[in-house]
Protein backbone atom coordinates (compact mmCIF):
# COMPACT_ATOMS: atom_id res chain seq x y z
CA UNK A 1 0.00 0.00 0.00
CA UNK A 2 1.10 3.54 -0.69
CA UNK A 3 2.39 5.40 2.34
CA UNK A 4 1.31 8.72 0.84
CA UNK A 5 -1.46 11.01 1.96
CA UNK A 6 -3.78 13.29 0.04
CA UNK A 7 -2.64 16.91 0.18
CA UNK A 8 -5.23 18.95 -1.70
CA UNK A 9 -4.44 22.23 0.03
CA UNK A 10 -1.26 22.59 -2.00
CA UNK A 11 -3.36 22.75 -5.16
CA UNK A 12 -4.66 26.15 -4.14
CA UNK A 13 -1.71 27.98 -2.66
CA UNK A 14 0.93 30.24 -4.16
CA UNK A 15 4.49 29.24 -4.67
CA UNK A 16 7.30 29.96 -2.21
CA UNK A 17 9.67 32.50 -3.72
CA UNK A 18 13.41 31.83 -3.96
CA UNK A 19 15.62 32.64 -0.97
CA UNK A 20 18.92 34.45 -1.14
CA UNK A 21 21.34 32.82 1.28
CA UNK A 22 24.44 34.87 2.08
CA UNK A 23 27.14 34.74 4.71
CA UNK A 24 25.52 36.22 7.79
CA UNK A 25 21.84 36.25 6.79
CA UNK A 26 21.10 32.63 7.64
CA UNK A 27 21.15 30.54 10.81
CA UNK A 28 21.09 26.81 11.43
CA UNK A 29 18.56 26.06 14.16
CA UNK A 30 18.68 22.87 16.20
CA UNK A 31 15.39 22.81 18.02
CA UNK A 32 14.47 20.61 20.98
CA UNK A 33 17.38 18.27 20.47
CA UNK A 34 18.51 18.46 24.08
CA UNK A 35 18.86 15.33 26.18
CA UNK A 36 15.34 15.58 27.55
CA UNK A 37 14.09 14.52 24.16
CA UNK A 38 16.97 13.11 22.15
CA UNK A 39 18.57 10.79 24.70
CA UNK A 40 16.83 7.44 24.31
CA UNK A 41 17.93 6.32 27.79
CA UNK A 42 17.63 9.41 29.93
CA UNK A 43 15.19 11.57 27.98
CA UNK A 44 12.00 12.59 29.74
CA UNK A 45 9.78 11.14 27.02
CA UNK A 46 11.47 7.78 27.31
CA UNK A 47 11.44 7.79 31.11
CA UNK A 48 7.73 8.55 31.17
CA UNK A 49 7.08 5.91 28.53
CA UNK A 50 8.84 3.34 30.73
CA UNK A 51 6.60 4.18 33.65
CA UNK A 52 3.48 4.05 31.50
CA UNK A 53 4.45 0.87 29.57
CA UNK A 54 4.28 2.84 26.32
CA UNK A 55 7.64 1.85 24.86
CA UNK A 56 6.31 0.42 21.63
CA UNK A 57 4.58 3.72 20.98
CA UNK A 58 7.98 5.35 20.47
CA UNK A 59 9.71 2.83 18.22
CA UNK A 60 9.19 4.90 15.08
CA UNK A 61 10.29 8.05 16.87
CA UNK A 62 13.48 6.29 18.03
CA UNK A 63 14.32 5.27 14.48
CA UNK A 64 13.72 8.78 13.14
CA UNK A 65 15.67 10.21 16.06
CA UNK A 66 18.79 8.20 15.26
CA UNK A 67 18.67 9.24 11.59
CA UNK A 68 18.12 12.89 12.51
CA UNK A 69 20.96 12.83 15.04
CA UNK A 70 23.41 11.46 12.51
CA UNK A 71 22.30 14.02 9.93
CA UNK A 72 22.44 17.00 12.31
CA UNK A 73 26.00 16.05 13.23
CA UNK A 74 26.91 15.85 9.52
CA UNK A 75 25.51 19.33 8.89
CA UNK A 76 27.23 20.73 11.98
CA UNK A 77 30.56 19.37 10.78
CA UNK A 78 30.26 21.33 7.55
CA UNK A 79 29.02 24.50 9.21
CA UNK A 80 31.93 24.39 11.65
CA UNK A 81 34.37 23.71 8.86
CA UNK A 82 33.39 26.86 6.96
CA UNK A 83 32.00 28.98 9.78
CA UNK A 84 29.57 30.67 7.35
CA UNK A 85 26.29 30.03 9.17
CA UNK A 86 25.52 30.72 12.84
CA UNK A 87 24.34 27.70 14.81
CA UNK A 88 21.61 28.25 17.37
CA UNK A 89 20.12 25.72 19.77
CA UNK A 90 16.64 26.30 21.18
CA UNK A 91 15.31 23.94 23.82
CA UNK A 92 11.96 23.54 25.48
CA UNK A 93 12.46 24.20 29.20
CA UNK A 94 13.87 26.91 31.41
CA UNK A 95 17.24 27.78 32.83
CA UNK A 96 17.61 28.36 36.54
CA UNK A 97 16.40 31.86 37.30
CA UNK A 98 13.93 31.85 34.39
CA UNK A 99 10.22 31.57 35.00
CA UNK A 100 8.56 28.28 34.10
CA UNK A 101 6.03 28.90 31.33
CA UNK A 102 2.33 28.18 31.60
CA UNK A 103 2.73 25.77 28.71
CA UNK A 104 5.32 23.72 30.63
CA UNK A 105 3.11 23.83 33.72
CA UNK A 106 0.28 22.48 31.60
CA UNK A 107 2.39 19.68 30.16
CA UNK A 108 3.55 18.74 33.62
CA UNK A 109 7.15 18.53 32.47
CA UNK A 110 9.82 19.89 34.74
CA UNK A 111 12.41 20.66 32.08
CA UNK A 112 15.14 22.50 33.93
CA UNK A 113 17.95 23.23 31.49
CA UNK A 114 21.54 22.85 32.69
CA UNK A 115 24.04 24.02 30.10
CA UNK A 116 26.73 21.47 30.95
CA UNK A 117 24.52 18.44 30.59
CA UNK A 118 22.05 19.71 28.04
CA UNK A 119 23.43 17.89 24.97
CA UNK A 120 25.22 14.67 24.19
CA UNK A 121 28.94 14.98 23.51
CA UNK A 122 28.56 14.68 19.75
CA UNK A 123 25.99 17.50 19.68
CA UNK A 124 27.57 19.82 22.21
CA UNK A 125 27.52 23.48 21.24
CA UNK A 126 30.86 25.11 20.43
CA UNK A 127 32.11 28.40 21.78
CA UNK A 128 30.36 30.62 19.21
CA UNK A 129 27.06 28.76 19.18
CA UNK A 130 24.06 30.24 20.95
CA UNK A 131 21.59 28.47 23.21
CA UNK A 132 18.10 29.74 24.01
CA UNK A 133 15.43 28.24 26.21
CA UNK A 134 11.83 28.33 25.10
CA UNK A 135 8.63 28.06 27.05
CA UNK A 136 6.40 26.97 24.19
CA UNK A 137 6.75 24.78 21.12
CA UNK A 138 7.85 27.64 18.87
CA UNK A 139 11.39 28.98 19.10
CA UNK A 140 9.92 32.43 18.48
CA UNK A 141 8.26 32.24 21.90
CA UNK A 142 11.62 33.36 23.29
CA UNK A 143 11.73 37.14 22.86
CA UNK A 144 15.53 37.22 23.19
CA UNK A 145 15.81 34.83 20.25
CA UNK A 146 13.43 37.01 18.22
CA UNK A 147 15.43 40.12 19.10
CA UNK A 148 18.57 38.35 17.97
CA UNK A 149 17.02 37.50 14.58
CA UNK A 150 15.94 41.10 14.08
CA UNK A 151 19.19 42.65 15.24
CA UNK A 152 21.26 40.42 12.93
CA UNK A 153 18.76 40.90 10.07
CA UNK A 154 18.40 37.15 9.66
CA UNK A 155 16.46 36.32 6.47
CA UNK A 156 16.59 32.53 6.46
CA UNK A 157 16.45 29.83 9.10
CA UNK A 158 17.50 26.27 8.34
CA UNK A 159 15.65 24.09 10.81
CA UNK A 160 16.50 20.70 12.27
CA UNK A 161 15.50 18.96 15.47
CA UNK A 162 12.70 17.20 17.25
CA UNK A 163 8.94 17.10 16.75
CA UNK A 164 8.20 18.37 13.28
CA UNK A 165 4.50 18.09 14.01
CA UNK A 166 4.64 20.19 17.19
CA UNK A 167 7.61 22.47 17.72
CA UNK A 168 9.08 22.82 14.25
CA UNK A 169 5.84 23.54 12.48
CA UNK A 170 5.00 26.20 15.06
CA UNK A 171 8.39 27.82 14.56
CA UNK A 172 7.89 27.95 10.80
CA UNK A 173 4.50 29.63 11.27
CA UNK A 174 5.94 32.28 13.56
CA UNK A 175 9.00 32.93 11.41
CA UNK A 176 6.82 33.25 8.31
CA UNK A 177 4.76 35.90 10.09
CA UNK A 178 7.99 37.73 10.82
CA UNK A 179 8.95 37.62 7.15
CA UNK A 180 11.73 35.09 7.69
CA UNK A 181 12.17 32.23 5.22
CA UNK A 182 12.50 28.71 6.51
CA UNK A 183 14.07 25.58 5.15
CA UNK A 184 13.36 22.33 6.96
CA UNK A 185 16.02 19.65 6.65
CA UNK A 186 13.61 16.84 5.92
CA UNK A 187 15.75 13.99 7.25
CA UNK A 188 17.20 15.92 10.19
CA UNK A 189 13.85 16.33 11.91
CA UNK A 190 11.85 13.79 13.84
CA UNK A 191 8.18 13.13 14.29
CA UNK A 192 6.62 10.71 16.72
CA UNK A 193 5.32 8.52 13.89
CA UNK A 194 6.17 7.92 10.23
CA UNK A 195 2.65 8.97 9.30
CA UNK A 196 3.02 12.34 11.02
CA UNK A 197 6.40 12.80 9.39
CA UNK A 198 5.09 12.09 5.91
CA UNK A 199 1.92 14.09 6.31
CA UNK A 200 3.55 17.24 7.67
CA UNK A 201 6.34 17.19 5.11
CA UNK A 202 3.88 16.72 2.31
CA UNK A 203 1.17 19.11 3.36
CA UNK A 204 1.46 22.05 5.71
CA UNK A 205 5.16 22.60 5.33
CA UNK A 206 4.80 22.14 1.60
CA UNK A 207 3.07 25.47 1.16
CA UNK A 208 4.98 27.25 3.86
CA UNK A 209 8.60 26.26 3.87
CA UNK A 210 11.20 24.65 1.67
CA UNK A 211 12.26 21.08 2.27
CA UNK A 212 15.76 19.84 1.53
CA UNK A 213 17.58 16.67 2.53
CA UNK A 214 20.75 16.63 4.60
CA UNK A 215 22.79 15.93 1.47
CA UNK A 216 21.27 18.94 -0.27
CA UNK A 217 21.77 21.15 2.80
CA UNK A 218 25.45 20.19 2.92
CA UNK A 219 25.72 21.09 -0.77
CA UNK A 220 24.15 24.45 0.05
CA UNK A 221 26.74 25.07 2.77
CA UNK A 222 29.53 24.05 0.40
CA UNK A 223 28.21 26.31 -2.35
CA UNK A 224 27.88 29.20 0.09
CA UNK A 225 31.50 28.77 1.05
CA UNK A 226 32.55 28.86 -2.60
CA UNK A 227 30.26 31.58 -3.93
CA UNK A 228 29.38 33.68 -0.85
CA UNK A 229 25.76 33.59 -1.88
CA UNK A 230 23.30 30.96 -3.04
CA UNK A 231 19.80 31.28 -4.39
CA UNK A 232 17.67 28.53 -2.99
Amino acid sequence: MSKSFRQPFTLFTNEIPPFLVTNGNTIFLIQDFHNYFSNVHEGIIFKISDELYLNEELEEYKKLLLIAKKNIISILNFIRKYNNIQTIYTSLGYFEGEKKSIFLETLGWNLILKKNTLFETTLKPKKNDLIFSKGFWSSASNVTFVKYLKKRKISNVIISGNFLEYGIINTTFDLMNMGINTLIVSDAVTSLTYQANTFIKGSITHGLTKLRSTGETIELINDLNTNNQVIL
Binding site: S2, K3, Q7, L11, E15, I16, Y194, H206, S213, G215
Partner: protein, 318 residues
Protein backbone atom coordinates in the same frame (compact mmCIF):
# COMPACT_ATOMS: atom_id res chain seq x y z
CA UNK B 1 8.44 5.64 -37.39
CA UNK B 2 8.79 5.01 -33.67
CA UNK B 3 12.02 3.63 -32.27
CA UNK B 4 11.59 0.76 -29.80
CA UNK B 5 14.20 -1.40 -28.09
CA UNK B 6 13.47 -4.11 -30.66
CA UNK B 7 13.79 -1.79 -33.64
CA UNK B 8 11.68 0.72 -35.56
CA UNK B 9 7.96 0.19 -35.91
CA UNK B 10 5.34 1.94 -38.02
CA UNK B 11 3.26 4.43 -36.05
CA UNK B 12 0.11 2.38 -36.51
CA UNK B 13 1.76 -0.65 -34.84
CA UNK B 14 2.10 1.19 -31.54
CA UNK B 15 -1.43 0.37 -30.34
CA UNK B 16 -2.48 1.32 -26.84
CA UNK B 17 0.48 3.08 -25.29
CA UNK B 18 1.27 4.29 -21.77
CA UNK B 19 3.73 7.10 -22.28
CA UNK B 20 5.37 7.37 -18.85
CA UNK B 21 6.16 4.10 -17.06
CA UNK B 22 9.10 2.33 -15.46
CA UNK B 23 9.93 -1.30 -16.10
CA UNK B 24 13.43 -1.67 -14.69
CA UNK B 25 14.81 0.81 -12.15
CA UNK B 26 16.61 1.12 -8.85
CA UNK B 27 16.71 4.56 -7.29
CA UNK B 28 19.42 3.51 -4.83
CA UNK B 29 21.92 3.24 -7.70
CA UNK B 30 21.88 7.02 -8.20
CA UNK B 31 25.48 8.32 -8.07
CA UNK B 32 24.36 11.06 -5.67
CA UNK B 33 21.83 8.95 -3.83
CA UNK B 34 22.86 10.76 -0.63
CA UNK B 35 20.95 13.80 -1.91
CA UNK B 36 17.66 11.97 -1.33
CA UNK B 37 15.95 12.23 2.07
CA UNK B 38 17.42 9.30 4.01
CA UNK B 39 14.62 9.13 6.58
CA UNK B 40 12.13 7.91 4.03
CA UNK B 41 10.57 4.50 4.39
CA UNK B 42 12.76 2.04 2.44
CA UNK B 43 9.60 0.60 0.84
CA UNK B 44 9.02 3.92 -0.86
CA UNK B 45 12.16 3.53 -2.98
CA UNK B 46 11.58 3.44 -6.70
CA UNK B 47 12.65 -0.12 -7.34
CA UNK B 48 11.57 -2.62 -9.99
CA UNK B 49 14.22 -5.28 -10.56
CA UNK B 50 12.62 -8.72 -10.53
CA UNK B 51 12.74 -10.06 -14.08
CA UNK B 52 10.04 -12.72 -13.77
CA UNK B 53 7.64 -10.46 -11.92
CA UNK B 54 8.13 -7.64 -14.41
CA UNK B 55 7.60 -10.06 -17.29
CA UNK B 56 4.30 -11.17 -15.71
CA UNK B 57 3.24 -7.53 -15.34
CA UNK B 58 3.92 -6.83 -19.00
CA UNK B 59 2.12 -10.00 -20.10
CA UNK B 60 -0.88 -8.97 -18.04
CA UNK B 61 -0.78 -5.52 -19.64
CA UNK B 62 -0.82 -7.26 -23.02
CA UNK B 63 -3.88 -9.25 -21.95
CA UNK B 64 -5.61 -5.94 -21.22
CA UNK B 65 -4.84 -4.93 -24.84
CA UNK B 66 -1.92 -2.76 -23.84
CA UNK B 67 0.56 -2.89 -26.70
CA UNK B 68 3.38 -0.50 -25.90
CA UNK B 69 4.84 1.72 -23.24
CA UNK B 70 7.54 4.31 -22.79
CA UNK B 71 10.10 3.25 -20.19
CA UNK B 72 11.31 6.59 -18.81
CA UNK B 73 14.16 5.36 -16.58
CA UNK B 74 17.36 7.06 -17.65
CA UNK B 75 20.92 5.93 -17.30
CA UNK B 76 22.08 6.56 -13.73
CA UNK B 77 19.50 4.59 -11.79
CA UNK B 78 19.40 1.15 -13.25
CA UNK B 79 18.22 1.47 -16.83
CA UNK B 80 19.20 -1.75 -18.61
CA UNK B 81 18.53 -1.81 -22.34
CA UNK B 82 19.43 -5.50 -22.67
CA UNK B 83 16.83 -6.48 -20.07
CA UNK B 84 14.24 -4.20 -21.66
CA UNK B 85 14.92 -5.92 -24.98
CA UNK B 86 14.39 -9.37 -23.46
CA UNK B 87 11.24 -8.29 -21.64
CA UNK B 88 9.86 -6.73 -24.80
CA UNK B 89 10.59 -9.84 -26.89
CA UNK B 90 9.08 -12.19 -24.31
CA UNK B 91 6.00 -10.11 -23.51
CA UNK B 92 5.44 -8.79 -27.04
CA UNK B 93 4.95 -5.31 -25.57
CA UNK B 94 6.77 -2.61 -27.53
CA UNK B 95 9.08 -0.71 -25.19
CA UNK B 96 10.46 2.70 -26.03
CA UNK B 97 13.60 3.30 -23.95
CA UNK B 98 14.82 6.67 -22.74
CA UNK B 99 18.08 8.54 -22.83
CA UNK B 100 18.71 11.82 -21.06
CA UNK B 101 18.56 12.68 -17.43
CA UNK B 102 16.53 12.15 -14.31
CA UNK B 103 17.09 14.52 -11.37
CA UNK B 104 20.47 15.45 -9.90
CA UNK B 105 20.81 12.50 -7.47
CA UNK B 106 20.59 10.10 -10.43
CA UNK B 107 22.57 11.96 -13.07
CA UNK B 108 25.49 9.75 -14.17
CA UNK B 109 29.03 10.86 -13.36
CA UNK B 110 30.04 11.31 -17.01
CA UNK B 111 27.55 14.18 -17.31
CA UNK B 112 29.75 16.22 -14.97
CA UNK B 113 32.90 15.51 -16.99
CA UNK B 114 31.55 16.11 -20.49
CA UNK B 115 30.81 19.54 -21.93
CA UNK B 116 27.35 20.16 -23.44
CA UNK B 117 28.46 19.16 -26.95
CA UNK B 118 30.07 15.91 -25.85
CA UNK B 119 27.11 15.14 -23.65
CA UNK B 120 24.77 15.75 -26.54
CA UNK B 121 26.89 13.47 -28.76
CA UNK B 122 26.55 10.77 -26.11
CA UNK B 123 22.76 11.08 -26.15
CA UNK B 124 22.67 11.08 -29.94
CA UNK B 125 24.73 7.86 -29.95
CA UNK B 126 22.22 6.24 -27.60
CA UNK B 127 19.50 7.03 -30.14
CA UNK B 128 21.38 6.46 -33.40
CA UNK B 129 23.67 3.55 -32.51
CA UNK B 130 22.41 2.18 -29.21
CA UNK B 131 24.34 0.07 -26.73
CA UNK B 132 26.85 -2.74 -27.39
CA UNK B 133 23.98 -4.80 -28.84
CA UNK B 134 22.62 -1.88 -30.87
CA UNK B 135 19.58 -1.57 -28.64
CA UNK B 136 18.48 2.00 -29.10
CA UNK B 137 16.60 4.61 -27.14
CA UNK B 138 13.61 6.30 -28.73
CA UNK B 139 12.96 9.33 -26.55
CA UNK B 140 14.87 11.96 -24.58
CA UNK B 141 14.17 12.99 -21.00
CA UNK B 142 14.98 16.07 -19.01
CA UNK B 143 14.30 16.72 -15.35
CA UNK B 144 14.13 19.68 -13.01
CA UNK B 145 14.32 18.96 -9.31
CA UNK B 146 14.10 22.49 -7.90
CA UNK B 147 12.45 25.80 -8.60
CA UNK B 148 14.95 26.81 -11.21
CA UNK B 149 16.75 25.33 -14.16
CA UNK B 150 20.37 25.43 -12.99
CA UNK B 151 23.65 23.59 -12.54
CA UNK B 152 24.00 20.05 -13.83
CA UNK B 153 20.28 19.87 -14.63
CA UNK B 154 20.61 22.93 -16.87
CA UNK B 155 23.61 21.37 -18.59
CA UNK B 156 21.55 18.22 -19.13
CA UNK B 157 18.66 20.27 -20.48
CA UNK B 158 20.92 21.98 -23.01
CA UNK B 159 22.42 18.66 -24.12
CA UNK B 160 18.94 17.15 -24.46
CA UNK B 161 17.77 20.14 -26.54
CA UNK B 162 20.76 19.79 -28.83
CA UNK B 163 20.29 16.02 -29.18
CA UNK B 164 16.61 16.51 -29.96
CA UNK B 165 17.34 18.83 -32.86
CA UNK B 166 19.81 16.30 -34.29
CA UNK B 167 17.77 13.14 -33.83
CA UNK B 168 14.16 14.33 -34.12
CA UNK B 169 12.91 12.23 -31.21
CA UNK B 170 10.64 13.81 -28.61
CA UNK B 171 11.51 15.06 -25.14
CA UNK B 172 9.61 13.94 -22.07
CA UNK B 173 9.97 15.99 -18.89
CA UNK B 174 10.05 15.42 -15.15
CA UNK B 175 9.48 17.97 -12.42
CA UNK B 176 9.62 16.95 -8.77
CA UNK B 177 6.22 16.86 -7.09
CA UNK B 178 7.33 17.92 -3.64
CA UNK B 179 9.19 20.89 -5.12
CA UNK B 180 6.41 22.05 -7.38
CA UNK B 181 5.16 24.38 -4.69
CA UNK B 182 8.36 26.34 -5.15
CA UNK B 183 7.90 26.89 -8.85
CA UNK B 184 6.38 30.11 -10.08
CA UNK B 185 2.85 29.47 -11.27
CA UNK B 186 2.82 26.07 -9.63
CA UNK B 187 4.10 24.03 -12.51
CA UNK B 188 7.48 23.89 -14.15
CA UNK B 189 6.28 22.87 -17.54
CA UNK B 190 5.69 26.35 -18.82
CA UNK B 191 9.13 27.53 -17.73
CA UNK B 192 10.79 24.47 -19.27
CA UNK B 193 8.81 25.05 -22.44
CA UNK B 194 10.17 28.60 -22.68
CA UNK B 195 13.67 27.37 -21.95
CA UNK B 196 13.63 24.59 -24.54
CA UNK B 197 12.00 26.81 -27.15
CA UNK B 198 14.78 29.35 -26.59
CA UNK B 199 17.19 26.49 -27.36
CA UNK B 200 15.36 25.92 -30.65
CA UNK B 201 13.19 22.91 -29.77
CA UNK B 202 9.75 22.89 -31.36
CA UNK B 203 6.96 22.81 -28.75
CA UNK B 204 5.22 19.88 -30.45
CA UNK B 205 8.27 17.73 -29.65
CA UNK B 206 7.73 18.24 -25.92
CA UNK B 207 5.74 16.01 -23.60
CA UNK B 208 5.17 17.62 -20.22
CA UNK B 209 5.04 14.94 -17.59
CA UNK B 210 3.65 14.91 -14.06
CA UNK B 211 1.26 17.77 -14.79
CA UNK B 212 -1.28 16.10 -12.52
CA UNK B 213 0.92 16.36 -9.44
CA UNK B 214 -0.05 20.00 -9.19
CA UNK B 215 -2.09 20.95 -12.21
CA UNK B 216 -2.91 24.53 -13.03
CA UNK B 217 -5.22 24.36 -15.99
CA UNK B 218 -4.43 27.97 -16.93
CA UNK B 219 -0.81 26.99 -17.57
CA UNK B 220 -1.69 23.63 -19.12
CA UNK B 221 -3.85 25.43 -21.65
CA UNK B 222 -0.99 27.79 -22.48
CA UNK B 223 1.43 24.90 -23.05
CA UNK B 224 -1.10 22.95 -25.11
CA UNK B 225 -1.90 26.05 -27.13
CA UNK B 226 1.75 26.32 -28.08
CA UNK B 227 1.60 22.73 -29.31
CA UNK B 228 3.16 20.69 -26.51
CA UNK B 229 1.70 17.47 -25.13
CA UNK B 230 0.14 17.53 -21.66
CA UNK B 231 0.67 14.25 -19.89
CA UNK B 232 -1.43 13.19 -16.90
CA UNK B 233 0.94 10.43 -15.95
CA UNK B 234 0.32 9.66 -12.30
CA UNK B 235 -3.12 8.15 -12.78
CA UNK B 236 -4.00 6.13 -9.69
CA UNK B 237 -1.68 8.10 -7.41
CA UNK B 238 -4.50 9.85 -5.68
CA UNK B 239 -2.33 11.50 -3.05
CA UNK B 240 -1.44 13.96 -5.82
CA UNK B 241 -4.86 14.29 -7.32
CA UNK B 242 -8.07 12.30 -7.30
CA UNK B 243 -8.63 10.32 -10.48
CA UNK B 244 -12.05 11.94 -10.72
CA UNK B 245 -10.35 15.36 -10.81
CA UNK B 246 -7.91 14.10 -13.44
CA UNK B 247 -10.87 13.03 -15.52
CA UNK B 248 -12.54 16.43 -15.04
CA UNK B 249 -9.37 18.27 -16.09
CA UNK B 250 -8.97 16.06 -19.16
CA UNK B 251 -12.58 16.71 -20.10
CA UNK B 252 -12.03 20.45 -19.65
CA UNK B 253 -8.95 20.38 -21.87
CA UNK B 254 -10.93 18.45 -24.50
CA UNK B 255 -13.69 21.07 -24.31
CA UNK B 256 -11.08 23.78 -24.77
CA UNK B 257 -10.03 22.04 -28.00
CA UNK B 258 -6.87 20.25 -26.88
CA UNK B 259 -7.90 16.60 -27.30
CA UNK B 260 -4.97 16.01 -29.65
CA UNK B 261 -2.50 17.18 -26.99
CA UNK B 262 -3.48 14.92 -24.09
CA UNK B 263 -1.55 11.83 -22.97
CA UNK B 264 -2.17 9.61 -19.95
CA UNK B 265 -0.03 7.15 -18.05
CA UNK B 266 0.56 5.70 -14.56
CA UNK B 267 4.27 6.13 -13.67
CA UNK B 268 4.58 2.71 -12.03
CA UNK B 269 7.93 2.50 -10.25
CA UNK B 270 7.36 0.92 -6.81
CA UNK B 271 6.54 -2.67 -5.97
CA UNK B 272 3.32 -1.70 -4.19
CA UNK B 273 2.01 -0.16 -7.40
CA UNK B 274 2.34 -3.45 -9.26
CA UNK B 275 -0.07 -6.38 -9.23
CA UNK B 276 2.41 -8.44 -7.17
CA UNK B 277 2.29 -5.60 -4.62
CA UNK B 278 -1.49 -5.60 -4.47
CA UNK B 279 -2.19 -2.87 -7.03
CA UNK B 280 -3.09 -2.85 -10.70
CA UNK B 281 0.34 -2.36 -12.24
CA UNK B 282 0.35 -1.19 -15.84
CA UNK B 283 -3.34 -2.11 -16.22
CA UNK B 284 -4.82 0.53 -13.93
CA UNK B 285 -5.85 2.89 -16.70
CA UNK B 286 -7.32 0.19 -18.92
CA UNK B 287 -9.05 -1.60 -16.07
CA UNK B 288 -10.24 1.37 -14.10
CA UNK B 289 -9.47 4.91 -15.24
CA UNK B 290 -11.04 4.54 -18.68
CA UNK B 291 -14.40 4.09 -16.93
CA UNK B 292 -13.83 7.30 -15.01
CA UNK B 293 -13.13 9.12 -18.27
CA UNK B 294 -16.40 7.76 -19.69
CA UNK B 295 -18.26 8.86 -16.55
CA UNK B 296 -17.33 12.50 -17.16
CA UNK B 297 -18.59 12.32 -20.73
CA UNK B 298 -15.45 11.46 -22.68
CA UNK B 299 -16.35 9.22 -25.60
CA UNK B 300 -14.74 5.94 -26.67
CA UNK B 301 -13.37 7.62 -29.74
CA UNK B 302 -11.78 10.39 -27.67
CA UNK B 303 -10.30 7.83 -25.27
CA UNK B 304 -8.84 5.94 -28.21
CA UNK B 305 -7.30 9.13 -29.47
CA UNK B 306 -5.70 9.74 -26.07
CA UNK B 307 -4.25 6.25 -25.60
CA UNK B 308 -3.61 5.25 -29.24
CA UNK B 309 -3.45 8.14 -31.72
CA UNK B 310 -1.85 10.84 -29.58
CA UNK B 311 1.08 8.64 -28.47
CA UNK B 312 1.79 7.81 -32.12
CA UNK B 313 2.20 11.47 -32.95
CA UNK B 314 3.95 12.36 -29.70
CA UNK B 315 6.55 9.59 -30.08
CA UNK B 316 7.07 9.84 -33.83
CA UNK B 317 10.64 10.48 -34.83
CA UNK B 318 10.85 13.25 -37.40
Amino acid sequence: MIQTVCGDIENNKLGICMTHEHVWCDQSLGPKFYLFDNSRDKNSLMLLNDYNKQLSELKLYKQYKGNSLVEVTCEGWGRDLNILYKLSKKSKVHIIATTGFYTKPCIPNHAYKFNVNKLSDYLVKEIEVGNENNIKCGILKTSVNTARVEGIEEKGLKAVAKAQKITGVSITTHTTGSRRQEIKGGNASYEILDYLMSEGVKPEKLIFGHVDERPDIRLLKKSAKKGSYIQFDTVGKEHWLLDKTRADLIKALIDFGFLNKILISQDRNRYYEMTYGGNKGYCNILDNFVLKLKNVGITNSQINQIIISNPQKALERN
